[in-house]
C-alpha cells in the first residue's frame, strides 16, 4: 500500500446538452479519497453529487453528455477507459449502492441468483462456490438465516434487508472503494442506524474506502472522516469533520448548519433559513454559484473563486472570496449558531 490517494478527481465537468440548453450538472469538482477513509459528500438535490460519482464508474456517458477533467483511480484514468478494462473495475474494485434498493434488484430473479451472477462476472468459480460465497456474504451483512433467504425474491425482503442485499452484492469482489449514494434515505431512522453501523463495520473489516453521498449532515457527522459540501455542481467547502462543522468557511455551509433542526437542543424560536431557491443548472450565475442567495456577496463574487485553503487550517479548503477575518466576524454576528441571515 502506498500513500498515494486511492481516487483523485480533478476539475471534473459533466454537461448535458438538452433541448432547453446545456445542463451543467457537474461544473468543476476536485476531490481526493484516501485508502480506507470515509468521505462524506453533502448537498441538496441538483448539487451534482450523484452525477459526479456516477461518472467515476462511467455511468453518465450518454450521447448528449460531455465530460472533461480527470478521474484517476490507483493511477489509472477512468474518464477515458473503455470496454473490458472499465468492466474489470466496475463492480469489482469500485462498487456502488443506490438509494432505492427495490429498483436496484431484479424483481424476477431470486436474490441468490443475482448474487451468484455478481460473483461469477469477476471470479472464475463454480456456481456452487459462488452460492456458498453469496450465503457467506448475506450472513456477513446481518441477514438472519442466509441459507433460506438466498432462495427468496427481492419482494420478500423489507427495505432495510434489501439494502443489506445490495451491500452484500457490492462486497462480492472485495472492492477498494464503495460509493454509497444516499443508502439510507429511503429507510426509517432505526433501520438507518443499523445500515450505517453495518457500513462502518464492513469498512473496517474490508479496509475499503467509502464515499458516502447524502443530503443529511447528521449521517455525515455519524460516519465520515472528511466532508465535502457541494452546491450547484461544485464543491464549495472541503475538510475534516471537525473543520467543516466547527469552523465552517463558506456562507452556504453556515446556512446549512443554521437551518438544521436538532433533537438534542431546546427548540429555538426560529430556524435560520437560506433565502431563495437553488439556481437552474442551465442558467447558472456567473462566478460564485451561491452569490444570488448569499447576503454577504460583493463585487468580486462575479468571478469564480477556486477551491483552496483560505481561512481554514491546512487541508480545509473553500470557495468564498470573503476575507477570512471578515468571515469570522460575520459568522459570529449572524443569528443562530452559524445562521446566514445578514447582520
Amino acid at each position: 500500500m502506498s500513500d498515494a490517494p486511492l481516487l483523485q478527481m480533478e476539475d471534473l465537468r459533466v454537461h448535458f446538452d438538452t433541448d432547453e440548453g446545456i445542463v451543467k450538472a457537474v461544473d468543476g469538482v476536485s476531490l481526493v479519497v484516501n485508502r480506507g477513509e470515509m468521505l462524506g459528500i453533502v448537498g441538496e438535490s441538483g448539487s451534482g453529487k450523484s452525477v459526479a460519482n456516477m461518472t467515476i464508474l462511467g455511468l453518465t456517458r450518454a450521447s448528449n453528455a460531455s465530460i472533461s477533467g480527470r478521474i484517476s483511480f490507483e493511477g489509472k484514468e477512468l474518464t477515458t477507459m473503455e470496454g473490458e478494462e472499465l468492466r474489470a473495475i466496475r463492480g469489482n474494485e469500485i462498487s456502488m449502492i443506490f438509494q432505492d434498493p427495490l429498483s436496484s434488484l431484479h424483481p424476477f430473479y431470486k436474490v441468490g441468483r443475482q448474487l451468484v451472477e455478481a460473483v461469477r462476472v469477476h471470479q472464475d468459480v463454480s456456481k456452487e462456490a459462488a452460492l456458498a460465497r453469496s450465503i457467506e456474504l448475506l450472513g456477513l451483512v446481518g441477514i438472519p438465516d442466509p441459507e433460506r433467504r438466498v432462495g427468496e425474491y427481492p419482494h420478500e425482503f423489507s427495505g432495510g434487508m434489501r439494502q443489506r442485499v445490495m451491500i452484500a452484492m457490492a462486497l462480492t469482489n472485495d472492492p477498494k472503494l464503495l460509493i454509497a449514494d444516499e443508502p439510507t434515505t429511503a429507510l426509517d431512522v432505526t433501520t438507518q442506524a443499523q445500515i450505517l453501523k453495518l457500513i462502518e463495520r464492513l469498512r473496517q473489516e474490508f479496509g475499503m474506502a467509502v464515499i458516502m453521498i447524502t443530503h443529511d449532515l447528521g449521517v455525515v457527522a455519524e460516519v465520515a472522516d472528511r466532508v465535502m459540501v457541494m452546491y450547484a455542481g461544485r464543491g464549495v467547502e472541503s475538510g475534516t469533520l471537525e473543520q467543516v462543522f466547527y469552523d465552517p468557511q463558506h456562507p452556504y455551509t453556515w446556512g446549512l448548519l443554521g437551518s438544521l433542526t436538532r433533537i438534542d437542543r431546546p427548540r429555538t424560536a426560529r430556524l435560520a433559513q437560506i433565502a431563495g431557491q437553488p439556481p437552474s443548472l442551465i442558467s447558472l450565475p456567473e462566478g460564485c454559484h451561491f452569490r444570488n442567495r448569499c447576503p454577504h456577496s460583493f463585487a468580486k463574487c462575479t468571478s469564480t473563486p477556486p477551491l483552496e485553503q483560505r481561512g481554514g487550517e491546512p487541508g480545509h479548503t473553500d470557495r468564498c472570496w470573503l476575507d477570512p477575518e471578515r468571515k469570522q466576524a460575520l459568522r459570529v454576528v449572524s443569528t443562530g449558531e452559524f445562521g446566514l441571515e445578514a447582520a
Binding site: 426509517d188 437551518s259 433533537i263
Partner: protein, 345 residues
C-alpha cells in the same frame, strides 16, 4: 363558535381503523385485517401543535386521514369543536370541511397539473361561498403573497414551480378556507434542507397570525422537535407515548421512544459521538399480524414475560406525560424496576 386557546379543539377517542384483507375468486371473504390504527385516544388543544411521529407503517398517515374522515373509521369517535364527526352524512361533513384542512407530503402529486394556481387556491373559496366570483382574484393574490409567492404568478400551472414553491401553493390552498385545524402530513419531507427551514418558518408564522391548530405528522424527529408543543409517538397502530415535547425528548419513558430518539444522528460530530445509542434489532413486524400484548416486546431490550401476555395501558407519569409500558424508563434511560427487568444485552 370561537373557542379560547387551551380548550380542546379535537378529541379522538378509541379510534380504530382496520383495513380488511380479502381472499377468494368469485366471492370475497375477509381473512384478516391490517390493524393500521388500533384504539388511539388523544386530544389537541386550540392553538397548539401536536407532533405525531413514528416509522413508516406505524399508522400515522392513516390516523391523520381517519381524523379528517377521508377514511371512514372502523370504530371510535372523533369530536371536532365539541361535535361528533364520525358517521356524519356527506353534506354535513362538507360544511365542516373548511374548518379542518390538510397539507400533503408530495407537492407534485397533491396539485392538479391541469389547473392554474388561481383555480387551485380560488375554487375552494368560491365553492364554500367565502368570496364572491369578483372577489376571488384579489383574495388569491393576497394569499399567494402571504405564503411568499409572487402574486403575478396567479395564472401559472403547478409544473412551473419548484418543490418548495408548490408546497407554498398547497399551504395557500389549505389557508384559503380560514381553517381552525390543519393536519400536515409530512409537509417538508420531500424538500431540501434549506427549503425545509423556509416552509417550517412559514407554517409557524401563519399559526400565530391565523390562530391555527396543527397536527404535524412527520418521521423526522428533528423537524417535529422544532414545531411541536406536544408529541405523540406511534408504533404499529398504537400511541405508545404522548406528552409535552420538551418532556418526551428529554426524558422518554417508553423504550421505543428512547431507541427512536437515540437512532437520529446529530449533525454535530462531538455531540453525536457522545450520545448513547440503542440500535434496535430486526424490522417492524407486520401490522396485519402484530405481536400480542405490548406490540414492541419483540424488539424491546427490556422486555419480560408480562410484556407478551398483558397489554400495558397508556398511563399518566406526571406532567401530562403518558406512556404505555410495563417497564417505564427513568431519567437515565433505565427501567425504573431494575430488579425485575434484565439489563440490556
Amino acid at each position: 363558535m370561537t373557542g379560547r386557546a387551551g380548550e380542546p379543539i379535537l378529541e379522538v377517542d378509541h379510534l380504530v381503523k382496520h383495513f380488511p384483507i380479502k381472499a377468494g375468486i368469485l366471492f370475497d371473504h375477509q381473512i384478516g385485517a391490517v390493524q393500521a390504527v388500533d384504539d388511539v385516544s388523544f386530544t389537541v388543544n386550540r392553538g397548539e401543535t401536536l407532533g405525531l411521529v413514528g416509522e413508516s407503517g406505524c399508522g400515522k398517515s392513516t390516523l391523520a386521514r381517519t381524523i379528517l374522515q377521508l377514511i371512514e373509521p372502523t370504530s371510535g369517535s372523533v369530536r371536532f369543536e365539541g361535535n361528533e364527526i364520525t358517521g356524519l352524512k356527506s353534506g354535513k361533513l362538507r360544511s365542516l370541511r373548511p374548518r379542518m384542512q390538510m397539507i400533503f407530503q408530495d407537492p407534485y402529486a397533491s396539485l392538479n397539473p391541469r389547473k392554474r394556481v388561481a383555480q387551485i387556491v380560488g375554487d375552494p373559496m368560491r365553492l364554500h361561498g367565502i368570496v364572491s366570483r369578483d372577489g376571488t382574484h384579489d383574495a388569491v393574490r393576497e394569499l399567494l403573497e402571504r405564503v411568499g409567492l409572487n402574486p403575478e404568478h396567479y395564472n401559472r400551472f403547478p409544473h412551473e414551480f419548484s418543490g418548495g414553491q408548490r408546497q407554498r401553493i398547497g399551504i395557500a390552498r389549505a389557508l384559503s378556507l380560514n381553517p381552525k385545524l390543519i393536519i400536515a402530513d409530512e409537509p417538508v419531507s420531500a424538500l431540501d434542507v434549506s427549503i425545509q427551514a423556509q416552509i417550517i418558518n412559514l407554517l409557524e408564522d401563519l399559526q400565530g397570525e391565523f390562530g391555527l391548530t396543527y397536527v404535524f405528522v412527520a418521521h423526522d424527529l428533528g423537524v417535529v422537535r422544532h414545531v411541536a408543543d406536544r408529541i405523540a409517538v406511534m408504533y404499529l397502530g398504537k400511541i405508545v407515548e404522548i406528552g409535552p415535547a420538551d418532556e418526551v425528548y428529554a426524558n422518554p419513558i417508553h423504550p421505543y421512544t428512547l431507541s427512536l430518539l437515540s437512532a437520529v444522528p446529530i449533525p454535530d460530530p462531538r455531540a453525536n459521538a457522545a450520545r448513547k445509542q440503542i440500535v434496535l434489532e430486526g424490522d417492524v413486524p407486520s401490522p396485519a399480524n402484530p405481536p400480542p400484548a405490548c406490540r414492541f416486546h419483540t424488539r424491546c431490550p427490556f422486555a419480560t414475560e408480562i410484556c407478551s401476555t398483558e397489554e400495558p395501558p397508556l398511563i399518566d407519569h406526571g406532567k401530562d406525560h403518558f406512556a404505555a409500558c410495563h417497564h417505564p424508563l427513568d431519567r437515565e434511560g433505565r427501567p425504573r424496576d431494575k430488579g425485575r427487568a434484565p439489563a440490556p444485552a
